[in-house]
Each structure stands twice: as structure tokens, then as C-alpha cells.
């Protein structure tokens, strides 16, 4: 499937990658700037990284975002797996159209609409049911899990569709029954997709600004909310340092995940 790439194609490609990476590269470089500006180099310094470690507000927001993302991702993956199984294995079931619409609309819905509508729901629920009492961590988790499960479903569905059902039949033929067949054969084989789905839901939750802004409450400032409020005040090397740390974490995770996948499952030709 390889072939020659023409020059204009490669040029456009490099330009594209440039657009993706140059801003981040410049930002990372200037996070080590000794001066206060992000455009004029005043010498090398790591002091902004040091100040990150002592910024309690930031560290709290970071921890909160991690917590929320973890739970949202877990719920999302669980539900997403159910949706995926229903679509791939259950043929035409009652409610297929409804589930299909409800699980694909969130993928393209503008975040402001999702955020506003969820907030209005929570307020309505509070006045009728008494729960949720005020907005906070749990409402954010619910919100993130809701759109997360739709993404998770897409990822898992793709893998489930390519799945060779003959191996499930082989397992039954060899003496196994459900749910053992699911846990010993089906799940291990779709596990990469399940993990990918979890990571995707985690990332979407961790990075979410708009929806969290609507459904958070006092004292539940997530990291993006904090960064956004800071950014509005101006661009500083401190935020550069924070951003660089985040990008570094993501970079290490993505690269090691890719490496690990290649080792375990061979080269995807």
C-alpha cells in the first residue's frame, strides 16, 4: 500500500504538521524563559516550573480534574461497552433507533448547548427531587460520563465489528459457557479498544472547559476552568510551564502506549 508521495502533497503535509506543532513548540521553549514575556527570550530558567509545585490552587484543580476524569471515564466505558454490544450483537432490537440517535447526537452537539441544558436539568431535578443538591463534582462526573459513553461506544463498536465470532463459538465448542466465554475470550480480545475508549473518555473529561463551566459549583473548579480564567488575564510563562507539563504527560503516555501496542499485538500492517 506504499507509494510515492508527490512533492506538493508532502509540502502541504509538512505545513499541516507545522501548524499543529509550532505553537506548542514555541510555548514549551518559552516556558523556560527567565523573563516575564513569552515572546522575548531573556535567558534560561526553570523557575516557573518550581512555582507550579507550590501553587496550591493549581494543584487542587489538577487533582480534582483527575478524580472527575477517572470516574467519568470508568462510567463512560462501562455504559459505552453496553451500547456497543447492543448495536453489534443484538440485531434489530426494540429501541435501536432511539439508542442510535441518543448515542450519536452528543458526539456532534455544541458544548454550550449540552452544558446549558444539563445545568437546567440539574436545577430542575434539585427542585423536584432534592438531588443534586447544588452543583459540584458529581454533576460534572455525570455530565462528562454522558458524552463520554457515546465516544466510548464508537471506539468499542469498531473493534467489536471486526471481531471474529468464530472464536466465541470455538470457546463454546470446547466446553465453556457464558459469561465465561465473554470474560475469557471476548473481553481480552477487545481489551485494547476498551482501554482506548477509557483513555479517550478520560481525556475528553480532563480537557473539558465549557460543560464543566456550566455544571460546576463553588469549590469545584477544574483545571481547564482555572486555566481559562488565568488566560483571560494574559499570557504568562507560568501558564506556559503548566501547559508544557500537561503536554509532556500526554506525550509520554501516547508514545509509550503506541510502543506497548506494537510490542503486544505485532505490527498493524
Amino acid at each position: 500500500m506504499t507509494g510515492r508521495i508527490s512533492l506538493p502533497v508532502m509540502c502541504l503535509g509538512i505545513l499541516g504538521f507545522g501548524i499543529l506543532y509550532v505553537p506548542m513548540a514555541v510555548m514549551i521553549v518559552f516556558s523556560f524563559n527567565a523573563g516575564k514575556l513569552v515572546s522575548v527570550w531573556s535567558g534560561f530558567s526553570a523557575k516557573w516550573y518550581a512555582s507550579l509545585l507550590t501553587n496550591e490552587q493549581l494543584l487542587n484543580a489538577f487533582g480534582l480534574s483527575l478524580f472527575i476524569a477517572f470516574w467519568a471515564a470508568t462510567i463512560a466505558t462501562f455504559f459505552g461497552m453496553m451500547i456497543a454490544i447492543a448495536f453489534v450483537r443484538f440485531g434489530d432490537f426494540r429501541g435501536r433507533l432511539a439508542l442510535s440517535g441518543l448515542s450519536s447526537a452528543p458526539l456532534v452537539m455544541p458544548e454550550v448547548v449540552t452544558g446549558l441544558s444539563l445545568l437546567l436539568l440539574f436545577i430542575g431535578m434539585e427542585s423536584v427531587l432534592g438531588w443534586p443538591a447544588g452543583r459540584g463534582v458529581d454533576t460534572i462526573i455525570i455530565a462528562h460520563a454522558t458524552f463520554g459513553m457515546c465516544f466510548a461506544a464508537v471506539v468499542i463498536q469498531a473493534r467489536l465489528r471486526d471481531f471474529d465470532r468464530a472464536i466465541e463459538e470455538a470457546a463454546c465448542d470446547l466446553g465453556a459457557r457464558q459469561p465465561f466465554v465473554f470474560f475469557s475470550v471476548t473481553l481480552p480480545v477487545i481489551l485494547p479498544a476498551v482501554i482506548a475508549a477509557w483513555l479517550l473518555a478520560f481525556t475528553l473529561s480532563f480537557d473539558d472547559l465549557v460543560i464543566a463551566s456550566f455544571v460546576s459549583g463553588p469549590g469545584s473548579s477544574t483545571l481547564p476552568i482555572l486555566v481559562f480564567s488565568k488566560v483571560r488575564l494574559g499570557v504568562t510563562p507560568e501558564i506556559n510551564a503548566l501547559a508544557s507539563v500537561m503536554i509532556g504527560i500526554v506525550a509520554i503516555s501516547v508514545i509509550s502506549a503506541a510502543y506497548f501496542m506494537r510490542r503486544r499485538f505485532g505490527n498493524p500492517g
Partner: protein, 362 residues
């Protein structure tokens, strides 16, 4: 004594399609039986019913006297070797082979020994730790076989076992399969569309068409004595001549072809089913029974022909010859002497065949 495997009036309908049509079959213990048919004939459905993945719409399956109705695949004394092997990609070779054994409760040293014995049987000793994606096609096939044999099933089903292998590997594997089957004495049922596979492997072949068994016999009987035009045409090459019976005697019959062809009476058929004068019959002759020469000898069933087509295969030549009346014959001839000069395209000659070699089909 009841046969080891008995299928009685087995039928399977999918909506409006009848995949298996009132099929009955007996298989003896230790047989290597082959189900041969083109795609869509119902053989895969039959296989899945035996394994338990489809429930019959009607009829009965009995294995070693036990009725299989309502018995789940996991509980049947039947195992399958899948067409695409269906190896568990996340488990090692040993893990794959041991899966069924662990389900049966085997553990520890006994499990390890049994896995080693199976690896030895399929000549994969030492490969226990490998993963399926690290194996070649032929190796994966052997793992699939070992895995299916692990639980010592009473019936082993093989779904197109050689289809995914290349030619050379196929030849070697054919004999290996027969060896293993004879060594273990397990009853094998091979499902295939490949004639050569069936003829090589099987002790008996059942030819299937449109959900029904058309003829069940040894390969030799099927080839030399097909029961009808379908079977005759299905296996190998054959020439057909249609005509009306003009004369019947104690030894043979003659039909009204130009020139007339004499066929010997088939002693196997009872007198009642013998064709009578005036009946429409189809005669069939296998290609290796027809000889072609440049000159006439005056023997019976000698017909003047012209060579239409010729395919030189080295070990033999396949000829298509035509009579003046347009009747086509296919024959196969070997060049026994190196210096011989056989007939070429467009040459005229004479074919001849013995009346005893003519198959009479109604």
C-alpha cells in the same frame, strides 16, 4: 448394533430457505467421512447442527446412542476444527490447546502432559509458548487440530481443513490428517467443496446438493459407478451421450447414437430397473477409459472423431474430440513411449471404449 452417528430425517429451514432437507445418514465409528458439495448445498448448516450451533427444524441427531436434542455445544462429545482456525489470539499455543481441557477440569501436571502429547501429535513440540500471530498458516492449522482433539471427542468436525493452505502444504497435510485419524481412531467428518481433498482423505464420501444427500459411497464407487448425472458430472471429467435404447440383450444394450454405442448390462442393478427397449437413457464414459488413435481397428464402440481441443499436462493429455454429428467426448491419454507422436489439433482419428466401461444412467 446402531451406527455410531445416526442422522434421521434432519431438516433445517431458515425463513423460506430449506438448507437441509430431510437428510438421513449413518456413520460408523472410526470412519473418516467426507461431506462434499458446492457452496450453498447445506453442508455448513449440517456441520453447525452437529456441533450444536443450530437447532434442527425437524429430525434427530444421535451420537453413540445419545440424542443430541437440546444439548449445548459445550456439552456435546463433538469438537470442531474451524475453517479459519479461530485460534484465541491473546493466548499462547499451549493456552489454546489447553482451553478445552481446563474447562473439563484438568489441571497441573496432568494438563501439562496432555498438552505436550498433543503438541507432539501435530509435530509442534516446543511451540507451546508462541502466540498465534507468530505462527505460519500451516502451524496455526495444526494448533487448531490439536485444540479440537484435546477433549478426545467422539466426533471431530473439520470445516474445509485444507482450504487455507497452499498446494504443496495441502498435499503434505492431507496425508498427515489421515495418519492422525488412523492413529487415534477418532471418527472424523470433513466438510469440503474440494473434490481432491475429499477423494484423498475419505473412506466414504457423501455428495450433497440442495440440502440432500445425493449419493454416499467410497470414492472409487462414486467415481466408477455414479448413481445419476449429477454425481457423474460432479466428480472429475466425464462424457455424456444421450439416446434411446434400440436393442436389449442379456449382456448389453444398444442406443440409437450415430454410430450406435453398446453398453454392458450393470449386474448390480436388479432386473426391474434395467432399461427397456425404447427408454431414454444417458450413457457416461470416464475419460481414461477412452482411447484415441489415428487408425481404426474394427473393435466395438469405435467412433470417428476430429480433435477439437487439446491440453498437454505432461503426465497426460486431455482431449476434446467431436463426432460428425456434433457429439463431444472428453478423454485423457498418456504418452507411454517417449517417441510416440500423438494426435494434434484438427487431426482426424478414432476413439474406442469397452462396453463394460460405459455407465448407464437413466
Amino acid at each position: 448394533m446402531a451406527p455410531f452417528i445416526r442422522l434421521t430425517a434432519l431438516t433445517k429451514t431458515f425463513e423460506d430457505v430449506v438448507a437441509v432437507d430431510n437428510l438421513s445418514l449413518d456413520i460408523e465409528k472410526g470412519e473418516l467421512f467426507c461431506l462434499l458439495g458446492a457452496s450453498g448445498c447445506g453442508k455448513s448448516t449440517l456441520l453447525r447442527m452437529l456441533a450444536g450451533f443450530e437447532q434442527p427444524s425437524a429430525g434427530r441427531i444421535e451420537i453413540d446412542g445419545q440424542n443430541m436434542a437440546g444439548v449445548a455445544p459445550a456439552d456435546r462429545p463433538v469438537n470442531i476444527m474451524f475453517q479459519n482456525y479461530a485460534l484465541f489470539p491473546h493466548m499462547s499455543v499451549a493456552g489454546n490447546i489447553g482451553y478445552g481441557l481446563r474447562r473439563a477440569g484438568m489441571r497441573g501436571a496432568a494438563l501439562g502432559e496432555r498438552i505436550d502429547a498433543l503438541l507432539k501429535l501435530v509435530r509442534l513440540s516446543g511451540y507451546g509458548g508462541r502466540k498465534p500471530h507468530q505462527l505460519s498458516g500451516g502451524q496455526r492449522q495444526r494448533v487448531a487440530l490439536a485444540r479440537a482433539l484435546a477433549r478426545q471427542p467422539k466426533l471431530l468436525l473439520l470445516d474445509e481443513p485444507l482450504a487455507a493452505l497452499d498446494k504443496k502444504l495441502r498435499e503434505d497435510t492431507q496425508f498427515e490428517l489421515v495418519d492422525i485419524q488412523e492413529k487415534l481412531g477418532t471418527t472424523f467428518m470433513v466438510v469440503t467443496h474440494d473434490q481432491e481433498e475429499a477423494m484423498t482423505l475419505a473412506g466414504r464420501i457423501g455428495i450433497m446438493d440442495q440440502g440432500q444427500l445425493v449419493q454416499v459411497d467410497t470414492p472409487r464407487t462414486l467415481y466408477e459407478s455414479p448413481k445419476n448425472v449429477f454425481v457423474a458430472d460432479f466428480l472429475g471429467m466425464i462424457s455424456f451421450v444421450e439416446g434411446r435404447v434400440t436393442k436389449v440383450s442379456k449382456t448389453g444394450l444398444v442406443i440409437d447414437s450415430q454410430p450406435p454405442i453398446t453398453a454392458a448390462i450393470d449386474q448390480q442393478r436388479g432386473p426391474a430397473s434395467q432399461p427397456k427397449s425404447g427408454d431414454q437413457v444417458t450413457l457416461a464414459i470416464r475419460p481414461e477409459k477412452i482411447s484415441l488413435s489415428a487408425t481404426a481397428t474394427g473393435a466395438v464402440n469405435e467412433i470417428p472423431v476430429v480433435v477439437e481441443d487439446l491440453a498437454y499436462l505432461g503426465v497426460a493429455s486431455n482431449y476434446r474430440v467431436k463426432t460428425a454429428q456434433g457429439q463431444m467426448f472428453k478423454l485423457q491419454q498418456q504418452q507411454s513411449r517417449r517417441a510416440d507422436k500423438p494426435l494434434e489439433w484438427g487431426d482426424a482419428g478414432f476413439i474406442q471404449f469397452d462396453p463394460a466401461d460405459v455407465i448407464v444412467l437413466s
